[in-house]
């Protein structure tokens, strides 16, 4: 048996495009460790809650993704989501 796979909601912040995660109660955070994790069957409800709220919504395209826990760390299942969480895997000219 692998690690249990949870669901969380992520999006990009409206004003600057930064990757953010849904904490609950209308709150979003740039830190994936603070994201609210739910079981698979609660995913749809979490997404609906994340999408709710009056405009302007703080997040663009709230999306449900999968992640596991590694101690304190929350690790997305797909490489794409890991790169979104951790930033580019390379150093760039600006450092």
């Amino acid at each position: 048996m692998g690690d249990p796979v949870f669901r969380l909601v992520t999006g990009n912040r409206l004003r600057d495009g930064k990757v953010i995660y849904f904490v609950g109660a209308g709150v979003w955070t740039p830190l994936i460790a603070e994201a609210r994790l739910v079981e698979e069957w609660d995913g749809a409800a979490l997404l609906a809650e994340a999408q709710a709220g009056p405009p302007p919504h703080p997040a663009i395209a709230p999306t449900l993704i999968e992640a596991t826990r590694d101690g304190e760390r929350v690790v997305p299942v797909t490489l794409r989501d890991r790169i979104r969480a951790g930033g580019p895997t390379i150093a760039y000219a600006g450092g």
Partner: protein
């Protein structure tokens, strides 16, 4: 043909566009526009949403920048991004860390140096590209950029073609060898002289990479210069009429040409062209209009530099590293005592095409001092100082070297084309930059022995890294949640353009370097004197390359 005064028109147009966009951003941030309503508005201004932030793409028409424009780009990088920009295979610049709320100010700043992101998205004419050595190359027939500008003005906001079935890329080339990758564009124009010495264009249509890679084919060998706008109008009209709008994957002109066949497409174009009548006169391109446009691209008045050769030869003899850089990065210029300098943005281990704000500022200063204030961007993601006196080369080399810009690798194995891939791009299926870094670092040791070699890498099937036409092409895919890389050999994007053949099953990321090493070993073993990779491939075929990988497995 009536040409508008583009300076005035563009300045006013750009100012209005920025004001309009500023209001749209304000309404978006205030919640008056939803993302669905706003998306197309931001895309029209070159603003995309990528993995980590917004990305702003600014066009650089025919890859030509003034030093003031490059300083403008540097300023954006420093003030509003993380201190760098990324030059793409479309001769654009992309900023990867842009905040929506800053974009009106960024566009307003860029408008002061006549740069913008308009129409770099959507079903419109894209940034026209050309030979990065245009106006300087010893071997060109004429500077193609005045024609590029004439075509740009014809296409800009062309009412009939503002809703094409799909985006449309035009390229111009005026050199006997093709330095602009003509055959991978929707429409290509090769400047030619006929037997009588008259100027005209070979017109090619239907090239493109992506999901269905196809090379452009010649519609007409020679269209006299004054008829070229009418002829390409006919080419576009046939596409606009018959191009598929019902299926995104079949909407490019390449699919139309493929499904009709080049003969039938040509017949349709010729019939349209023949039926034009009075419109053909309106689209006539008289010599006077060409001359007026050529005046805007007049060559600088080069000083007499005939004595420079001796000074250069001394430096070449004294400094082998300098000689090596001159051998690979310095190209023949049309004016005596001058040279074209290609500035490599491919230092092994660094990110292909990235350029920091301080590097841009240095290049702007060097361009002012040594290259009549001009800079070019190449589709290979390098930069060019097009008009440098040979006596200044040594000093230039030292200054570039101090800024990490004198890697002597143009056209060699570490001069890799590479798209941003999954490190930035929301469409990617795999990373491409780390693959390029590993390959460049590994191959730099023996790249002089290998000789000219083009490696091209894309992070998904959209093929922004032109992998199909790489001597060695690498396509990043996703297989069962892991990155894997499909490798092709034998492609090329010059006058003998060809699409590469797949050498075997895709390999894992950690196997790419060794696989490419094996393919290069096959080439080195089989090549004959004077052959480059595509020549050897044409002669021996795919089999020996495939076999080498089967044996290794």
């Amino acid at each position: 043909m009536a040409l508008y005064r583009y300076d005035e028109f563009d300045r006013k147009f750009l100012e209005e566009r920025v004001a309009q966009y500023r209001d749209q951003v304000r309404r978006r941030l205030a919640g008056q526009l939803s993302e669905d309503e706003f998306r197309s508005l931001r895309l029209m201004n070159g603003l995309y949403l990528q993995l980590h932030a917004y990305m702003l793409r600014i066009s650089i028409p025919y890859g030509t920048l003034s030093s003031a424009q490059l300083r403008g780009l540097a300023h954006v990088a420093r003030r509003w991004d993380k201190g760098y920009g990324h030059f793409t295979t479309r001769q654009n610049i992309q900023y990867h860390w842009i905040r929506l709320e800053d974009t009106p100010d960024i566009l307003a700043h860029l408008a002061t140096v006549q740069l913008h992101g308009i129409q770099t998205s959507g079903n419109s004419f894209r940034n026209i590209t050309t030979d990065p050595f245009a106006g300087a190359a010893a071997d060109e027939i004429e500077d193609p950029r005045p024609y590029g500008e004439i075509v740009r003005q014809w296409s800009a906001l062309h009412p009939e073609f503002s809703f094409l079935p799909r985006k449309f890329k035009i390229v111009l080339n005026a050199a006997p060898d093709d330095r602009a990758a003509v055959k991978i564009h929707d429409l290509g124009l090769n400047l030619r002289r006929n037997e009588k010495g008259e100027l005209g264009f070979e017109v090619l249509v239907g090239g493109g990479l992506g999901r269905t890679p196809i090379l452009a084919q010649t519609v007409r060998d020679f269209v006299p210069r004054r008829d070229v706008l009418a002829y390409i109008t006919a080419c576009l009209r046939v596409y606009n009429q018959y191009g598929r709008r019902d299926n995104l994957f079949k909407s490019r002109v390449k699919i139309l040409v493929q499904s009709l066949g080049i003969e039938k497409y040509r017949q349709e174009v010729e019939a349209e062209y023949a039926a034009m009548g009075v419109e053909r006169e309106e689209l006539d391109l008289p010599d006077a209009v060409v001359a007026a446009m050529q005046a805007q691209f007049a060559a600088p008045s080069y000083p007499d530099a005939s004595g420079d050769e001796a000074e250069l030869n001394q430096a070449l003899a004294a400094e082998p590293d300098f000689a090596r850089w001159v051998k690979y990065n310095v190209k023949p210029h049309k004016a005596a005592g001058h040279a074209i300098v290609v500035v490599s943005l491919k230092q092994p281990g660094k990110v292909t095409g990235d350029c920091s704000a301080s590097q841009m500022e240095l290049l702007a200063e060097l361009a002012d001092r040594l290259s009549f204030g001009e800079i070019r961007i190449t589709h290979d993601q390098n930069m060019v100082l097009p008009h440098v006196r040979k006596a200044a080369l040594y000093d230039l080399w030292l200054q570039l070297g101090a800024a990490g810009l004198a890697t002597p690798n143009i056209g060699l194995a570490s001069d890799i084309i590479c798209c941003p891939g999954m490190d930035y791009c929301s469409l990617a299926t795999a990373r491409s930059i780390p693959i390029a870094q590993a390959l460049a670092t590994n191959l730099a040791q023996r790249e002089q022995e290998i000789g000219p070699l083009q490696i091209k890498i894309s992070g998904c099937i959209n093929a922004c890294g032109h992998h199909h036409v790489g001597h060695i092409g690498i396509l990043g895919l996703e297989k069962n949640g892991a990155e894997s890389y499909q490798i092709t050999v034998g492609g090329s994007d010059n006058a003998q353009a060809a699409l590469g053949g797949i050498v075997g099953p895709a390999v894992a990321a950690h196997e790419v370097t060794a696989t490419v090493d094996r393919l290069i070993d096959v080439y080195l073993r089989l090549r004959r004197d004077g052959e480059q990779f595509p020549d050897t491939y044409r002669r021996v075929g795919l089999a020996p390359f495939k076999e080498a990988l089967v044996v290794a497995r």
